[in-house]
């Protein structure tokens, strides 16, 4: 079945299933059709007087998702057509769900029919990427990213994403327990924020539970097979990512420590930076800009795994002085930035608020 994912262009090709006729004392046989393109339910078979009765008192009609406890009807509007009544639901009927349409005019037998809205083709979501993907990550890492192949339903991460010691025991509440989960707009990328209270060395949880990650240890981050996509399809099997933990990184980012590799003018080789640490990949994509001699940003393709960053030019490099612009909010995976280490002491914030510029001469 062809499927388009953008909301305004939904096309439902096959629709509706059964009509169950409850004993009917209506003038004719009532039939209900679902016009998927217009998202209207069309009721035929009402007599003109029944039609006007219904239009005058829309409460006689009830549209509900099947199997619910509330007697409340979905929001909708009714409109009269030549020989039919049109039901315009305020919200689109959801794919794969069954709805009930019931009409009960006074002194008439009730009419009720069930409508099954055709389902999308559902793909089980897969964990496609994990960042940072480095062999060893610092013990005071603040943030992990999980990327999925399909949009994931909100509200499950706390339950279905867990951290385990190498012996299989579970690490108790390592992540910040916010009421809002941190997804990107597509809901394919989840940000896991370690509880900053647990990340600080030698305090708090060290006394009772120990820090979530110990240097030299290995852990498994497990995504449960029960985690469901937004369409309701589970991952299927548990997926585990191995984490090897190194020493905590606790000093500000100093771009002077980076190695920048300049290509020759006339080539299409990338400008590449090797970082001295693991930079947050999302921040590296967003907060490093290469500006050309003409003052415009180079619209190149950016690649980064957090350990390095490179930009491939759209055309051959022209000779000149390029500038790497570094946003002061750039962070490494441990939350250190250009101003301060994450565990900065008194007065450490606010040292740098302007972008840093580095010369990148290409000749």
């Amino acid at each position: 079945m062809h499927q388009m994912t953008q909301k305004p262009f939904w096309v439902w090709q096959v629709l509706i299933a059964t009509l169950i006729f409850v004993q009917s004392a209506f003038a004719e046989e009532i039939s209900v059709q679902f016009d998927a393109a217009e998202e209207i339910l069309v009721i035929h078979g009402l007599s003109p007087s029944e039609q006007s009765e219904l239009l005058a008192k829309p409460d006689f009609l009830r549209l509900q998702i099947a199997g619910q406890s509330s007697a409340r009807s979905m929001l909708m509007k009714l409109a009269g057509a030549e020989d039919a009544v049109h039901v315009h639901p305020r919200f689109s009927l959801r794919h794969g769900k069954q709805y009930v349409l019931a009409i009960s005019l006074p002194d008439r037998e009730g009419f009720e029919t069930k409508l099954l809205v055709a389902d999308d083709i559902r793909k089980p979501p897969r964990l496609v990427k994990f960042e940072p993907s480095h062999a060893v990550i610092p013990a005071n890492i603040l943030r992990l990213y999980l990327m999925f192949s399909e949009p994931i339903a909100r509200g499950q991460a706390g339950k279905f994403v867990t951290l385990h010691h190498s012996d299989g025991t579970i690490v108790q509440s390592p992540f910040l327990n916010l009421s809002t989960e941190l997804w990107d707009q597509s809901q394919k990328r989840l940000t896991l924020l370690f509880d900053p209270g647990r990340m600080k060395e030698g305090v708090g949880p060290n006394v009772s539970a120990g820090p979530p990650l110990e240097p030299g240890e290995s852990y498994r981050l497990v995504v449960s097979g029960d985690l469901e996509s937004a369409a309701g399809e589970p991952v299927g099997q548990d997926v585990a990512v191995s984490l090897r933990i190194g020493h905590a990184k606790n000093d500000p980012i100093n771009p002077q420590e980076w190695e920048i590799q300049m290509p020759k003018a006339g080539s299409k080789e990338p400008v590449s930076i090797a970082f001295d640490r693991i930079i947050d990949t999302a921040a590296a994509r967003r907060m490093l800009k290469l500006v050309g001699p003409d003052g415009y940003r180079v619209p190149g393709g950016i690649h980064t795994d957090g350990g390095g960053w490179s930009i491939f030019p759209p055309a051959i490099w022209k000779a000149g002085l390029y500038t790497l612009e570094i946003d002061p909010e750039l962070e490494d995976v441990s939350g250190n930035n250009l101003r301060t280490a994450f565990d900065g002491g008194e007065g450490a914030i606010g040292k740098v608020t302007e972008p840093i510029f580095m010369n990148v001469p290409i000749d």
Binding site: R72, H88, T191, L193, D195, G197, V207, R297, G344
Partner: protein, 408 residues
């Protein structure tokens, strides 16, 4: 089954109807934190769009709820306005209860009307909406009938960012507060660990100021340079408007508003600690009508709620800090009064006599209730095993002689 004839009729119909009777697209991409100004303007945090919306609901038709009885505060009786609120909203919008996400709740004080920010669905295409409670009924708020303005609080897709194919930093807006012609917006980013506090005038102008707040954190026994504020309120402390904020790892901090200038690096004074392993949900001001004291109530994920008096907040000494100070792991600092609330998901006050909560029922956590709680103790007698509730139990305050409540 349909006849060929009726299918043909359906396809013919498609040509005759070109516009939907609901000719509106929601201006909301998401609907999170809610707040009212002193009048009829509803602020809605929209993290997905990176916006704070302002809807003037005057023309929507706010509806006075003064005849809707909320319970009887004198006898500690609250009222369940809805059982299975998620089921009821689900019925209204045609989805199963698990596809109803209630993100926040706010009370319009003048009319006592309750507003909820709701998502229909859990996916990226979830529809965002505002639902109003009107004399025990649920209503979808037609936002198109309201005068609308909005203000960016974060990066929004621009031609440039889209061209470069970057993922976008998103701010999950955790709280909005209105005070004296301004709103304060707190949030957590999915890509940055920031203590930035956004402050902007309303009606919106081009002005927006962000300040970073540094606090001494007793649990860590060191300066916490960066941590996101989760919830906040503005209170008059010692005659000065002061931000009272709770952080992700639950210190309570006070900062005079006058210090929150654009680009400023501010030292907040940490005056309390809600304890480790706990995330605050809301901080809401209220007046204790018994002793006329001004207070705030803080609700939490893992603990019952706590009440703190403004007097105590104002006079609290800054918690000790510096060399030789040992970390604090439990509740500490300014005096807190524990409140007997549990399962609270959202809370706001209605007036001096009642608060309203979205909560898990104390009897059945699957039952999401919209329920009122008598002030000043946020205590509903029926929720608790107390002798006064027993048929043959003592009745020192004469509760049983009070006439039975007749709810409209």
């Amino acid at each position: 089954m349909f006849s060929t004839k009726s299918l043909f009729a359906a396809s013919a119909l498609a040509f005759t109807l070109t516009t939907s009777v609901f000719a509106q697209d929601s201006v909301l991409e998401s609907a999170g934190a809610l707040a009212f100004d002193d009048g009829n303007v509803l602020f809605v945090g929209d993290g997905e769009a990176g916006l704070v919306h302002a809807f003037d609901l005057t023309s929507y038709g706010l509806s006075d709820q003064k005849n809707y009885r909320l319970g009887r505060a004198q006898t500690f009786e609250g009222r369940t306005i809805f059982n299975n609120l998620d089921h009821e909203i689900g019925a209204l919008i045609g989805v199963e209860p698990e596809d109803v996400i209630i993100n926040d709740m706010v009370v319009h004080k003048e009319t006592r009307q309750v507003f909820l920010s709701v998502h229909r669905g859990r996916g990226p295409d979830a529809e965002a909406m505002i639902i109003a409670v009107n004399n025990g009924n649920l209503e979808l708020v037609d936002l198109n009938s309201a005068t609308h303005s909005s203000k960016s609080v974060g990066p929004v897709p621009t031609t440039e960012t889209l061209e470069f194919g970057q993922t976008l930093n998103m701010l999950a807006i955790t709280d909005i507060d209105y005070y004296n012609g301004e709103i304060l917006v707190a949030g957590v980013s999915n890509e940055e660990f920031s203590s930035k506090l956004r402050r902007m005038p309303y009606p919106f102008t081009d002005e927006i100021s962000t300040s970073s707040v540094e606090i001494w954190h007793a649990v860590h026994a060191q300066y916490e340079t960066r941590a996101p504020i989760i919830s906040q309120t503005v209170a008059m402390l010692n005659g000065e408007p002061t931000l009272v904020a709770v952080y992700a790892c639950t210190p309570i901090v006070r900062i005079p508003l006058s210090e929150l200038k654009d680009g400023a690096q501010v030292r907040g004074t940490m005056i309390g600690e809600m304890g480790f392993g706990n995330t605050p949900l809301d901080i809401v001001p209220y007046t204790n009508s018994w002793d006329k004291s001004e207070n705030v109530v803080v609700t939490n994920t893992n603990r019952s709620a706590a009440s703190l008096s403004l007097e105590a907040l104002a006079s609290a000494e800054a918690m000790p800090h510096g060399e030789g100070v040992k970390p604090v792991f439990s509740v500490a600092g300014v005096q807190q009064f524990q409140l007997p609330m549990s399962g609270t998901l959202h809370l706001d006050t209605v007036d001096d006599a009642f608060a309203v909560v979205v909560r898990r029922s104390p009897e059945d956590p699957r039952n999401i209730q919209l329920h009122t709680l008598p002030l000043p103790f946020f205590f509903d007698r029926a929720d608790h095993v107390v002798e006064m509730n027993f048929e043959d139990g003592p009745d020192p305050f004469g509760y049983k002689s009070a006439p039975p409540l007749d709810y409209n």
